[in-house]
């Protein structure tokens, strides 16, 4: 049994869905999924629907962002399985994890939906000014930020994301 670890932290408004289960799990060889989201943690219907879709053998946990930070930071109880995929709904949750002391070597942006103050930087990703600033702060502290919906796409790095944001 390999020791618990985090394979990737991903921002995805849709949390558990087809791209995550059919593309990312096999590509990362992930053995577990940790959803860190206050809304999902408080919604029993969301939790049971997600559990329904998780393939057998994959460890699955839903925690509030704060509880996830406690678990993932050094000295915490750790992720549920080896090579765990951590799913967050919003960019700000990634910064919350980081500020609580969780190391995020790589942050993937998958799906961030349209919102009134957000601009489209990729087919499935819309960002606002504050989110871009949060990503820059994370990058400045060593997080490698990349944008791609599925692992077979070529990743877009933060400078390219910024350029697209400025162009829109």
């Amino acid at each position: 049994m390999k020791s618990p670890s985090v394979a990737l932290v991903r921002v995805d408004n849709r949390l558990v869905h087809g791209q995550v289960l059919e593309a990312w799990l096999p590509a990362l060889d992930a053995q577990g999924i940790l959803v860190a989201d206050d809304e999902a943690a408080a919604n029993v219907l969301a939790r049971s629907a997600m559990a329904l879709a998780i393939p057998p053998g994959v460890k699955f946990e839903v925690l509030r962002v704060k509880a996830a930070a406690e678990a993932l930071k050094p000295g915490g109880k750790g992720p549920p399985a080896s090579r765990t995929l951590v799913l967050l709904r919003e960019v700000r949750d990634a910064e919350a994890l980081h500020d609580a002391g969780v190391a995020i070597p790589q942050l993937n942006l998958g799906n961030v939906h349209f919102g009134v103050s957000r601009r489209q930087v990729a087919p499935s990703v819309f960002l606002d000014k504050d989110e871009l600033a949060a990503l820059e702060r994370l990058a400045a502290q060593g997080t490698r930020v990349e944008l791609r919906a599925v692992p077979t796409e070529s990743p877009l790095a933060l400078p390219d994301i910024k350029a697209r944001f400025a162009d829109v």
Partner: protein
């Protein structure tokens, strides 16, 4: 569609059977106005429209209800039938004053993505290839009739599933998750994929035999190595490029270039 007596509370507003049928038919066009901002939002609002028209006779209330359903929504287009059905049931309770309007929205957001994952796995990655392979296996016997076999197999399962999902969604409301858990979608997916793999093997074996008989071992070898090569290379070149390459080779063969 019959409604359990207990579900019809005194004074509760209810959508007519004709209204439910219209919602179901419209839900077949869920993706017709797909867009990157809201994805299936317009399709969802349109599908549930006839139900909202019955539940909210006041034009202002109705417009507000439709506007609520223009929020972001995305799911697998077939699995979404369960959510459309469930949303109609919840809207009945909202219109009757039993639930806040927000509950419909959180129902849709909670179920959309996980149901999408179930649908991707079952319909796109298991049922569709398996139905296509089963049809391909019948080709030597019935020729182009195999196309009808595919359409018949795939659509009978897919349309029956949509009707069932919509009905279960409407009758059970939030209980739809338990109903779908008992339907073994997730566990039948690997089984269906395994059937597909067996059919693919049978098809490959038949192609090799047909190419080699009566005495053309070289052709058999050529077909066998093409199949093995395609299986090895397909994940790297991607389906689209592979289909174009196969089309070119097929045309070249048909025109007797080699």
């Amino acid at each position: 569609m019959s409604i359990p007596a207990a579900a019809v509370a005194q004074g509760a507003r209810r959508v007519s059977n004709g209204g439910l049928a219209r919602v179901f038919l419209r839900s077949l066009f869920l993706q017709a106005a797909w867009n990157p901002r809201g994805m299936q939002n317009v399709g969802f609002a349109d599908a549930i429209g006839p139900a909202l028209a019955e539940l909210y006779p006041d034009p202002g209330d109705r417009a507000r209800a439709v506007a609520r359903h223009l929020e972001f929504f995305n799911c697998h287009p077939y699995m979404a039938a369960a959510i459309v059905g469930g949303a109609v049931r919840l809207e009945e309770r909202v219109a009757s004053g039993e639930l806040p309007a927000q509950s419909v929205s959180s129902f849709k957001t909670a179920l959309g993505p996980p149901f999408a994952a179930l649908g991707d796995g079952f319909f796109w990655l298991a049922l569709r290839p398996t139905a296509a392979l089963a049809a391909a296996v019948t080709e030597p016997f019935i020729g182009l009739g195999c196309v009808l076999v595919f359409l018949g197999l795939y659509n009978s399962v897919h349309l029956a599933a949509r009707v069932w999902l919509f009905a279960v969604g409407y009758l059970r409301g939030e209980g739809v998750v338990d109903a779908i858990a008992r339907a073994h979608f997730a566990s039948s997916t690997p089984l269906l994929k395994a059937c597909g793999a067996v059919l693919a093997g049978a098809l490959a074996a038949r192609s090799v035999l047909a190419a080699g008989l009566p005495d053309r071992p070289f052709h058999a070898l050529l077909v066998a190595s093409t199949i093995v090569g395609a299986a090895a290379l397909l994940p790297r070149v991607g389906v689209t490029r592979a289909v174009y390459a196969a089309l070119l080779v097929g045309l070249a063969l048909g025109a007797r270039f080699f």
